[in-house]
């Protein structure tokens, strides 16, 4: 028997051995990138033909699903009606709250008279290791924020309290230097008195007023406010906090007063920026 005759007689076996060899070869290289790329290309073109089929096959099951949904439609309708009623009540309450909020804003807006407008800004970032130093707000040059603009908080709705000033401004963000930061120095005075000094941060929630004259009449409980100093942009009469303790430094000869802040500087989700 010649080779040709053998191949003709055992054609199926020869073919099978060839196909099996190729298959085993493919199994061994199935994870190769070329194979995967080829498969992706084929799947892309075959997927185009399969999508309409999937839609056609899915149609009856969608119909069945809709019929099943219709059975529960009455219950769902009741539930939605109830929800709509509640939503209507919420809407009325929201409108009332909006009016109250607008009124409050109007009141707050008149407090710093003639000193620009208050711009609400969301606190975008506050690093844990710089909690009492700096934070970043989601307002920038585009919104009219300028360097040294006072940053306030209105957590206590009766008034606004200064918590820092704008340190640097980017297009859409700005960095706020909190008054508790050691680099911060703000001119302050005692409300109703002539005493003035510089509020210096010390990294704690209780900054100190330095350079108070020894004869100044400062006592615990006195209200501390900002003072306007030309040519600074800092606006006067902004609430800072109240004096906790006063002591005379024998080394410098000045009095210094520890101040507890009026604004809650620990919890800040949004702030107000006083822009010109």
């Amino acid at each position: 028997m010649t080779v040709r005759e053998f191949l003709r007689v055992h054609q199926a076996t020869v073919r099978y051995l060839g196909c099996a060899s190729v298959s085993v070869g493919l199994l061994s290289v199935s994870s190769a990138e070329t194979v995967q790329a080829f498969r992706s290309i084929a799947a892309y073109f075959l997927g185009l033909t399969q999508q309409p089929v999937h839609r056609v096959v899915a149609y009856p099951s969608d119909i069945a699903g809709r019929l099943m949904a219709a059975v529960y439609a009455t219950d769902e309708n009741e539930r939605l009606r109830d929800l709509a009623k509640r939503m209507h009540v919420y809407k009325i309450r929201a409108e009332q709250l909006e009016q109250d909020h607008a009124r409050m804003r109007a009141v707050l807006g008149t407090r710093p008279t003639g000193m620009g407008r208050l711009l609400n800004a969301r606190v975008q970032r506050r690093e844990p290791h710089q909690w009492f130093n700096t934070l970043i707000i989601a307002r920038g040059k585009r919104d009219g924020i300028v360097p040294d603009a006072p940053v306030l908080t209105d957590r206590c709705m009766e008034s606004v309290q200064i918590i820092g000033r704008i340190w640097s401004v980017e297009e859409e963000t700005a960095r706020v230097l909190l008054i508790t930061d050691p680099l911060s120095g703000i001119p302050v005075g005692i409300a109703g008195k002539t005493a003035q000094g510089v509020l210096l941060g010390n990294g704690t929630p209780e900054p100190t007023i330095e350079y108070l004259l020894p004869e100044s009449d400062v006592a615990p409980g006195d209200r501390v406010v900002t003072v306007t100093l030309p040519p600074g942009i800092m606006t006067g009469n902004l609430d800072v906090g109240s004096v906790v303790s006063v002591e005379l430094s024998p080394r410098t000869g000045f009095k210094s007063a520890r101040v507890t802040l009026a604004g809650n500087i620990s919890v800040l989700d949004h702030v107000l920026v006083l822009v010109p």
């Binding site: 054609q11 199926a12 076996t13 073919r15 099978y16 196909c19 099996a20 190729v22 298959s23 085993v24 070869g25 493919l26 199994l27 290289v29 199935s30 994870s31 194979v35 498969r39 084929a42 799947a43 075959l46 033909t49 399969q50 089929v53 999937h54 096959v57 899915a58 099951s61």
Partner: protein, 161 residues
């Protein structure tokens, strides 16, 4: 030329039928093997040697369409074509119960081969679940219409399939 177009139509039909089966698998959890049915059709109507080659090519096609290890279905269907090919011409291939019986045998053989592949090649997955028991009857149920339709599509000019 007519025969060539008939094979093209048959191939398109198989791809579409596989898409339908894939969609059914989402609902039922079982996917009838359309390419196995086509291999059985070749075994019944075309002969031993063509069944091996057709099984291999259809297996490659199935490997492309399905997220299996490339080459696993090619080896499975080529083996099915080779083993069942010995039965070619021994039965009346037009009888539905013959077709169903061949499909059940092919499905069982396919499961066995996949199990062996899973033992030999770690990347080939084989689910030992209730689906394995349900697959042969499911393949027979879905495969008979596929064989009948293929016989109609690939009908020769003399009227035989």
């Amino acid at each position: 030329m007519r025969s060539f177009f008939a094979y093209i139509v048959a191939m398109v039909f198989l791809v579409l039928a596989d898409a339908v089966a894939a969609r059914l698998a989402i609902v039922t959890g079982i996917k009838p093997d359309v390419f196995l049915a086509a291999t059985v059709f070749t075994v019944l109507y075309r002969g031993h040697a063509p069944a091996v080659l057709t099984g291999f090519l259809l297996g490659l096609c199935a490997d492309l369409l399905q997220p299996t290890v490339f080459g696993a279905n090619a080896l499975r269907l080529a083996t099915v074509g080779y083993v069942l090919g010995w039965l070619h011409g021994r039965f009346n291939e037009d009888m539905p119960h013959v077709q169903a019986g061949m499909l059940v045998a092919a499905s069982c053989l396919g499961i066995l081969i996949m199990g062996l592949e899973a033992l030999a090649v770690s990347s080939v997955s084989f689910g030992y679940s209730w689906r394995v028991a349900v697959m042969p009857p499911a393949d027979a149920l879905a495969g008979v219409p596929v064989i009948v339709l293929l016989a109609q599509i690939l009908r020769r000019p003399d009227g035989t399939s």
